[in-house]
């Protein structure tokens, strides 16, 4: 726990210093707001339509593939730490684990779902 206290302190200081810099700027800077200045930037013309536009589903599909791979790769870390003292059997298990994972990627690839249409 004690080492995590230092990590917590690091988070705290890491928050305080940038916030302090922005706070200093807030104290020093001029403030002359006007409606045109605060308009959203869009190539020199007024914003057309809602800013929160809808997105391609491809972004979601890539995020999905990422999520699955992320979880599985994280699972491999304890395996990798212990690998030196486990012998061939554990290595084979890890390789099977990775191969199952690759099969999922191969499926998405074959079905053309990794294309950016």
């Amino acid at each position: 726990m004690s080492s995590w206290v230092y990590v917590g302190l690091f988070f705290l200081v890491g928050l305080i210093i940038p916030a302090g810099a922005i706070g200093a700027a807030w104290l020093l800077r001029p403030r002359k707001p006007n409606p045109i200045k605060q308009m959203t930037y869009e190539c020199g013309i007024e914003t057309v339509g809602d800013s929160w536009v809808q997105f391609k589903v491809q972004y979601y599909i890539f995020a999905l593939v990422f999520l699955v791979f992320d979880v599985e790769t994280v699972f491999l870390f304890p395996w990798a730490v212990k690998l030196g003292s486990l012998g061939m059997f554990a290595v084979i298990e890890g390789i099977i684990f990775i191969l199952i994972l690759i099969a999922g990627l191969a499926y998405a690839w074959r079905k053309g779902m990794l294309e950016w249409v």
Partner: protein, 102 residues
């Protein structure tokens, strides 16, 4: 030192809040957010019992890892369904999705 009960009560509270979200929100994504909270409450319990039992018995942590995998699978399929439903019905309000009424 922190007694075990604090963790258990914390986890029970988190679970109840998640349950409240699941039962009352109308939006499908918000319901899934509630489910995430409930899964996290379970994980807190598992890890707390690992710490307060025999530390060398790693079962609590191994279970928590499996819960992570289940949560990831649940979210990916759940949100994919939400997106698919949105594409067909143009809404993700749970009350209005009644294709399976008959």
């Amino acid at each position: 030192m922190i007694p075990l009960s604090w963790y258990l009560i914390f986890s029970a509270a988190l679970f109840s809040i998640g349950l409240f979200g699941v039962l009352t929100r109308r939006n499908l994504i918000a319901i899934l957010l509630g489910v995430e909270l409930m899964l996290n409450a379970v994980n807190v319990n598992l890890v707390a019992f690992w710490r307060y039992g025999d530390v060398h018995n790693i079962a609590g942590q191994a279970f928590a890892i499996i819960v992570f995998a289940v949560a990831a699978a649940e979210v990916s399929v759940g949100l994919a369904l939400v997106i698919s439903v949105y594409r067909k019905r143009n809404t993700i309000i749970a009350d209005e999705i009644d294709i399976l009424k008959w």
